[in-house]
Amino acid sequence: MSVATDVAAAPPALDVERIRRDFPILSRMVREHRLVYLDNAATTQKPRTVLDTLARYYSDGNANIHRGVYTLSGEATAAYDAARVKVQRFVNARASREIVFTRNSTESINLVAHSFGRRQVGPGDEIVITHMEHHSNIVPWQLLCEQVGARLRVAPIDDSGTLQLDELERLLGPRTKLVSVVHLSNSLGTINPVREIVRMAKRRDVPVLIDGSQAVYHMPVDVQALDCDFYAFTGHKLYGPTGIGVLYGREEWLEQMPPYQGGGDMIRSVTFEKTTYADLPHKFEAGTPHIAGVVGLGAAIDYLEGVGFEAIAPHEADLLAYGTAALSEVKGLRLIGTAAHKASILAFVMKGAHPHDVGTIVDTEGVAVRTGHHCTQPIMDRFGVPATARASVAMYNTREEIDALVRALERVREMFPA
């Protein structure tokens, strides 16, 4: 191997200090300490370019889309459509009509539960999920099952938080109508072998939905390579605005599925006798959409791609390894979620200290971590804990911030001896 190849093969180092300057909020103070933001799994902070794009859209480009012939409406429509193409490229969908804008991942999953579910799932049919799903990938299926008389099957996880793949395969049967799995668990950090799961399901002609909310900002996602039928994610975890989500759907399915909501923008023609629906993806986007959110999401994707996963992923992997080692040194601390294949998430409980007390104490040191059940109560039950504290990293975090967390946890230990 030549020297030149070696250099080319090395991942470009992430210039974290430069990245941090792009995020205005990271310089704010919390309780007299510089903010240490480690709740990225809940939502990531926004780079200045996203904030500027939102401000510029409203101050210079605001108009409704697909409506008028005037210049401003044309510009807004073009910006909206261009962002859809960015999203298409970002997840490598075949066509931009396979990209549907929603409010968030939750709405994306509900859309499938309504439109796909009501048509494809009947009495006695089964939907397979895993024990590590977010409530947003449990409850829509429970509602559907209740409505149509179907049954929800749950694939188990082991003590490390790894999906028991053979058990999942055993659940796939002639009545299985859909498999819906999380790509990267928000509570455990586990990365599921989604490509393998899709293969298993395809052998039985079962479509697969992947909840990619946590995955899309940590790793490149290619829906064609995954061969999944649906992929749901949200903009606000992708360094973009809140209130904008995405559903990728394979065109064949989207064509067959009835609209999710009725209203303006989703029709071709309306009479009182008969309404025909618009083409994809507009059939699924009733009403004025979150135009600013879509344009802001486009800016976030530009930013993310500008930094590049080839730089982000090794940096975040280093933080995870460093954090895992550092937290393991804290007396009486137990990590929840120790799968071999994981990313970003450091969830833990501390002997003698409730997660809420942990959260409050580290907050007084400026460290923001999430505490609670993380919308995954079945995981809490599985591990026998009422709640966990969770630190989750993003591209702008540093080893020094992990150190600040560990120092703050020492304060917890002082107050609540193990």
């Binding site: 309780r31 200290a353 409730h354 997660p355 809420h356 007390d357 409050t360 104490i361 007084t364 505490t371 609670g372 059940h373 109560q377 809490m380 009422p386 709640a387 304060r411 002082e414 107050m415 609540f416």
Partner: protein, 149 residues
């Protein structure tokens, strides 16, 4: 650590470690369950009544230091009180943990005054008040689970 100690006063840490009146009251006249779905805290409050007077009271459950200590100190505070007195104390306690400008009767609050620091941590008010909401449900003889949400 001064401001943190305003929240986690020694009395609170003591009651968290060694809660008073902790356990079920066998054959209690009244009982109710409380739940904070945001954090998963659950506790049950048991009450025996002698006419209008709380003759005995206990609690059982798991939660953070603030919720556990609050339940513990609450049971100490309301034992032997009449129901109207307990209600008044609850209102006073809520004012203590939420209302900056409240004029409070320190003598009546007694040890409960250690929760004054909660006021500076609005996200923790529900931890401190869960036991009291559950007590109220118990004495009102309401049987649905009390929720802070």
């Amino acid at each position: 650590m001064s401001d943190l100690r305003d929240l986690y006063q020694e009395v609170i840490l003591d009651h968290n470690r060694h809660p008073h009146n902790f356990g079920e009251l066998d054959g209690a006249d009244r009982h109710a369950d409380g739940h904070n779905p945001l954090c998963g805290d659950r506790l049950a409050v048991y009450v025996n009544l002698d006419g209008e007077t709380i003759s005995d009271v206990s609690f059982l459950g798991s939660g953070c230091a603030i919720s556990k200590a609050s339940a513990s100190l609450m049971t100490d505070a309301v034992k032997g009180k009449t129901l109207p007195e307990a209600r008044r104390l609850f209102e006073e306690f809520l004012a203590l943990v939420t209302d900056e400008g409240a004029v409070l009767d320190d003598a009546r609050l007694g040890k409960l005054a250690v929760f004054a620091g909660v006021r500076d941590y609005p996200t923790r008010v529900k931890c401190a008040s869960l036991a009291w909401h559950t007590l109220r449900a118990a004495v009102d003889d309401r049987h649905e689970v009390v929720s802070t949400e």
